[in-house]
């Protein structure tokens, strides 16, 4: 275990390393692979917080809870609602902002407010050659040079180790409300959810939980947030349009969405968990096709059907071929979020991309991680495995 406490220590450590490193924040998301653990929690601390500019800069190892607390004191929050993976995965660590950024973790509000990557204004990271790189900054609009902030978001530590992240934050709205309707099947519910997203009522959450997930009847949830008068107006309009058994508000509404965000209906239940991004209108057909081919599963559908959480039996490939085949046919991709060691050894965690994209990804990995030491194999192989030491970024230059 290595735990650098400064960017300089981090860079020294990486420069000296010649064997795989398992880059981790709080290690709550189950992505850590083989190799010496590189613990980033020593790179912690809020570096800057300007509520009036909606900006926060923090060391990558800063616990998410610390960020939530400091933002909460000023009535602000992270708009992208990052999922807490601990209930679903049964992990116990402390989630860090670096982990959220590296995995581009977003929650139900992604459909309205954008993903983690959309709220990342800047990053500092150390490449596999031990070079410290900064990109972006702390301002809302920045097109100065290439956007490596996005490239780092969701790269799961395979291109560099984040040392600092700068974020755009959001004011917590005065009020929230959720329309709850029970008893619909998936096709009916998703049709309602996509319709809700097409209204001017600024829906910030649109989910459906299957009867298998709730243990009761299916539940359609539609959330709106904002100033009190506005929320009550929009809730009324949506209720007229799409119906509701009840409209719940405040903390009761927030609790419902934590359940969707963290996929708690699947917590403690045996089986593999898949996260599928697809077209909302394809969602019901996606699940029907799986069932028709004999893959039984439970569903939590978020993002008006565009995000499917599937719980499958952990036998064979746990449905990998069927699920990824549907993604290839309908558009989208599937990530194995929870699976036992045997399954993870047999099935790639991330959906393999078409060959030309895999080639580009491998090319980027070779340049940013020339020694092939950052979470090797997690997002696909490098072009040539561990290579010579030195400045990888310059290799291949004409």
């Amino acid at each position: 275990m290595a735990r650098p406490e400064s960017e300089a220590e981090l860079a020294d450590l990486i420069r000296a390393a010649n064997a795989p490193l398992s880059v981790q924040g709080g290690n709550t998301r189950g992505m850590a692979g083989a190799g010496q653990a590189l613990d980033t929690t020593g790179l912690h601390g809020i570096r800057l917080y300007e509520p009036g500019a909606l900006t926060l800069v923090a060391g990558a190892g800063t616990p998410l809870s610390e960020i939530d607390t400091i933002l909460g004191e000023k009535g602000q929050r992270l708009a992208f609602e990052p999922m807490d993976h601990r209930p679903l995965l049964g992990t116990t660590g402390v989630p860090t902002i670096g982990g959220v950024a590296a995995a581009n973790v977003s929650g139900p509000r992604r459909v309205q407010a954008g993903a983690a990557r959309d709220h990342m204004l800047g990053v500092r990271f150390v490449t596999g050659a031990g070079d410290l790189v900064k990109n972006g900054g702390r301002v809302m609009k920045n097109v100065t040079g290439y956007d490596l902030v996005k490239l780092m978001a969701g790269s799961h530590g395979t291109l560099g180790v984040l040392s600092e992240v700068s974020l755009k934050v959001q004011a917590v709205p005065q009020a929230e409300a959720t329309l709850v309707l029970r008893g619909q099947d998936m096709a009916e519910a998703v049709a309602d959810l996509t319709r809700a997203m097409g209204t001017p009522f600024d829906v910030s959450g649109a989910a459906w939980l299957s009867p298998d997930a709730t243990g009761g009847t299916g539940e359609r949830l539609i959330r709106i947030e904002g100033m009190a008068g506005s929320v009550s107006y929009r809730a009324g309009r949506l209720r007229d349009l799409l119906g509701a058994d009840t409209v719940v508000e405040g903390e009761e509404s927030a609790t419902l969405w934590r359940r969707v965000r963290d996929v708690t209906p699947f917590a403690g239940k045996a089986g593999a968990v898949w996260r599928v991004s697809t077209r909302p209108t394809a969602a019901a057909g996606f699940c029907d096709a799986l069932r028709a081919q004999g893959l039984t599963h439970a569903v939590v559908a978020d993002w008006s059907g565009g995000l499917l959480w599937l719980l499958t039996e952990e036998t064979g490939d746990a449905g990998a071929d069927l699920i990824r085949g549907q993604c290839a046919a309908l558009g989208g991709h599937a990530t194995l979020i929870r699976g036992n060691t045997a399954l993870r050894a047999a099935v790639p965690v991330f959906q393999p991309q078409p060959a030309p994209l895999e080639r580009i990804a491998a090319g980027l990995r070779v340049r940013f991680d020339p020694k092939g030491i950052f979470n090797p194999g997690l997002m696909g192989p490098g072009l040539m495995g561990p290579g010579p030491t030195g400045s990888g970024l310059k290799e291949g230059a004409a």
């Binding site: 300007e50 009036g52 500019a53 009535g75 581009n104 992604r110 993903a115 990557r117 070079d131 410290l132 790189v133 900064k134 990109n135 900054g137 702390r138 301002v139 809302m140 609009k141 920045n142 097109v143 100065t144 040079g145 290439y146 956007d147 490596l148 996005k150 490239l151 969701g154 959001q170 004011a171 917590v172 005065q174 049709a191 097409g198 001017p200 100033m227 506005s230 107006y233 991004s277 697809t278 077209r279 209108t281 995000l307 558009g331 989208g332 991330f350 959906q351 991309q353 994209l357 580009i360 990804a361 090319g363 980027l364 340049r367 940013f368 696909g380 970024l393 291949g396 230059a397 004409a398």
Partner: protein
């Protein structure tokens, strides 16, 4: 502005190249007559001009791929071009290049209101994307001021913003997928009508790469339902600092206006003289716009005007009708025209942390005295994206150079206070040689490494973004 010396080996192959391109394109899609290629000699940064060797206007992704395969074989640089509205010289040709224009690629290919997307060819103009869906109550959110003319291709290349990005984000936040052709002529499909493309976020790094990684021929764009209504409020203050504090307080209060626009005295005076919008005589003016139903608008404006009153505005004018809204926006929307009327101007778009606004405005005014050139400011205050307009006289010897020097000084100031060189226009050639002020060599090295992967021979949009001396070993 230093540009690479044209390669005589390439220039000598012009005829062979014309034949090879004519073999893969319709006859009227290859432009080689110097009288016609001159039309492509510059973009909206007209201070720099250079006619290209050739221009081609393909109509399909396949034709683009064929063109790029030919150019790659000949080793000819290619400069992709949307509508040529770049303010940064992003589409400035080199004398030995082929301009690849997407102007003929304007088709709408697919749309779904349920899935909230539209797929278009990228030669389509920004505003016409909204035009395609607005009858059904939808719009495409990024709204650069050039939206009537600018192409989606250029929007993606420059990651364009607009007045309303405070709420809706910029191009990268509204881009779901692309079809892109690499310099080698390989067609890539990345993302699609679903959220968060799989694998590494290549979409994120392609958007804003100024046409240096590939030619984007098709785009899947997020469309959004139009709000029920929108209404602005105008406020005048007797100093910049108070206006800046008011912006901060509005943001901190948790209301999210769709736009907060700021104009300083020189700008107010010029637009008043030009458009007569009836703006108050004051140091700083804010236009704050909110959206929603009538009741929702009233609810938000109540909070906003209460904050404004605490800062003792010299004027507070809430729009009560479409006509009043139009009058409030009139001056702001004619600001650039008004400036053009009185002078030549250079428009910068450095971005600063909102909290630094008063300091930066004060120092800018000192620079104005020092260089003897007037500066007017009109900008997106909510996100700190400045638009200082430096006025100069193009017919006066040395004025352009003085203006450029002063512009560089202002951009360095933006970086110094924690901001950046460009918030939405892009680097192009204009800010290329200032990149070293914002980025250390390792930072630029990492960006150039991305280009190495997509375009190993560095043929796409040469001599942009990266200072020539930092990229010299790569450009061969």
């Amino acid at each position: 502005m230093q540009m690479p010396v044209p390669d005589p080996r390439i220039l000598s192959q012009k005829d062979a190249l014309v034949s090879a391109l004519a073999a893969v394109l319709p006859g009227d899609a290859v432009i080689s007559d110097p009288a016609e290629t001159r039309a492509y000699e510059c973009d909206a940064l007209t201070a720099y001009r250079c006619p290209p060797m050739l221009a081609v206007l393909p109509s399909t992704t396949e034709e683009v791929a064929a063109v790029l395969r030919v150019c790659h074989r000949f080793g000819v640089p290619v400069v992709p071009r949307g509508s040529g509205t770049s303010l940064a010289g992003g589409a400035l040709p080199t004398a030995d290049c082929v301009i690849l224009g997407v102007a003929r690629m304007t088709a709408v290919l697919e749309r779904s209101y349920e899935d909230r997307f539209i797929r278009v060819q990228t030669g389509r103009t920004n505003l016409s994307v909204t035009g395609e869906v607005e009858a059904d109550g939808f719009f495409y959110a990024p709204d650069p001021s050039s939206q009537l003319a600018c192409a989606i291709a250029g929007n993606i290349a420059m990651n364009s913003g607009g007045a309303h990005c405070l709420k809706y984000g910029v191009t990268t936040n509204n881009l779901l997928g692309v079809t892109m052709v690499t310099m080698e002529g390989e067609v890539l499909s990345i993302g699609g009508p679903y959220l968060d493309a799989g694998g590494l976020d290549l979409l994120g790094v392609i958007c804003g790469s100024e046409g240096q990684l590939g030619v984007v021929t098709e785009a899947v764009l997020r469309i959004l339902p139009k709000p029920e209504g929108a209404r602005p409020v105008l406020m005048g203050f007797d100093n910049n600092e108070v206006a800046g504090a008011c912006v901060r307080d509005i943001i901190e209060a948790g209301v999210l206006p769709v736009a907060i626009e700021f104009m300083d005295r020189p700008c107010i005076e010029a637009t008043e003289a030009f458009a007569g919008a009836g703006y108050p005589d004051c140091e700083a003016l804010l236009i704050v716009e909110v959206e929603g139903s009538d009741a929702e608008i009233a609810e938000q404006l109540e909070v906003i005007t209460a904050i404004a009153r605490r800062h003792n505005p010299v004027e507070l004018r809430e729009s009560r009708s479409a006509d009043e809204s139009a009058r409030i926006w009139l001056g702001r929307k004619s600001a650039f025209g008004a400036m053009g009327q009185i002078n030549d101007y250079m428009c910068l778009d450095g971005t600063i942390p909102v909290s630094e606004l008063p300091v930066v405005l004060k120092r800018m005014s000192a620079l104005s005295d020092q260089y003897g050139l007037k500066v007017a400011n009109v900008f997106h205050a909510g996100d700190g994206n400045l638009h200082p307009l430096i006025l100069f006289d193009a017919n006066k010897d040395g004025d352009l150079e003085t203006c450029e020097e002063m512009g560089a000084e202002i951009l360095r100031l933006c970086v110094e206070v924690g901001g950046c060189l460009t918030g939405e226009h892009g680097v192009g050639v204009e800010k290329r040689d200032l990149m070293g002020h914002q980025y250390a060599p390792a930072d630029l090295e990492a960006q150039m490494a991305v280009k190495d992967v997509f375009d190993p021979k560095w043929l796409l949009n040469p001599a942009k973004v990266f200072p020539l001396d930092t990229s010299v070993t790569r450009r061969g």
